[in-house]
């Protein structure tokens, strides 16, 4: 029932209000005495160098796509687990077929070194 999701809506409203109030009050009431080290992006940290918009390695893309694929796989497990007792042996076999096909892909990725960083 949609009404059961009211707490989530309340939480969203509270989060937005909290962020707005915290930012507004600290901007209005806080003293403003800037000095160079306070204005640096990381106070008492390493000064940043180069542009943050540089290109990243394609290796991260591999990780992201593999995450999505197994994420989609997991979403099918949920209704299957709920219905496991009704489906009985038939359900076990059909999920086994599903998983074995994906296991072939898993072994392929492994053998191709998809899980190695270099």
């Amino acid at each position: 029932m949609p009404i059961d999701y009211l707490p989530i809506l309340v939480m969203v409203v509270v989060v937005i209000a909290f962020a707005a109030i915290a930012l507004t009050f600290s901007a209005l009431t806080g003293p403003r005495r800037p000095n160079p080290s306070k204005l640096s992006p990381y106070e008492s940290g390493m000064p940043p160098f180069g542009s943050a918009r540089r290109r990243i390695s394609i290796k991260y893309y591999l990780t992201a796509v593999l995450f999505i694929l197994f994420d989609i796989e997991i979403i099918f497990f949920y209704p299957w687990a709920v219905l496991f007792r009704q489906l009985q042996l038939f359900g076990l076999i059909e999920m086994a077929v599903f998983v074995i096909v994906l296991l072939v892909g898993y072994v392929y990725i492994w053998k191709k070194g998809g899980f190695d960083w270099d």
Partner: protein, 170 residues
């Protein structure tokens, strides 16, 4: 009450979708896309389909959007200045967009859109549970599409290895 929430999230989704198209900074566009996905999840909740809503948040807002952000980081396109468009792109886009708008208005004005109604009404869904309803169909009537999904995922796995993995010389 439901209608108010529907209009709230539908408006949010449309505004955010316009933002995805119109914003010049790709990171801002991706953020707007997240708002679209989450608004759609709220609409699914209103349609008594909380499982679809959870899947929407997990798969789309969680995983697909990460892929979008990764592609933005891989290509680092910077902020689009609007330059580099093809010469005839703007007038052609205006003509085709207008044609599509007229077509949509004509169709929507003349026809009554029948709401798709299956055997699963909100009351029935509340009784048996939407996960059970989806699972009962997915693992019996739609068993073949479900198994083919695994092949689709397998193709994607092979594809990403072929495209993104450096071949190891042995």
């Amino acid at each position: 009450m439901d209608l108010i929430v529907f209009y709230l999230f539908a408006t949010l989704a449309v505004i955010a979708a316009l933002g995805v198209v119109a914003l010049r900074n790709p990171v801002h566009a991706a953020l707007c896309l997240a708002v679209v996905f989450i608004s759609l999840a709220a609409l699914y909740v209103l349609l008594s389909a909380p499982f679809v809503a959870a899947a929407q948040v997990m798969i789309y807002a969680g995983a697909i959007l990460i892929l979008f952000v990764f592609v933005i980081m891989l290509l680092s396109p910077g902020v689009d200045q609007g330059a580099g468009a093809l010469k005839w792109q703007r007038p052609l886009a205006a003509v085709f967009g207008l044609a599509l708008a007229v077509e949509l208005i004509l169709v929507l004005a003349s026809a009554v859109l029948p709401a798709a109604r299956g055997q699963y009404t909100p009351e029935r869904l509340a009784q048996i549970g939407d996960v059970q309803a989806i699972g009962a169909l997915l693992f019996t009537d739609f068993l073949l599409p479900f198994e083919i999904t695994s092949l689709l995922l397998l193709v994607a796995m092979v594809g990403v290895i072929v495209l993104a993995k450096k071949r190891v010389r042995s």
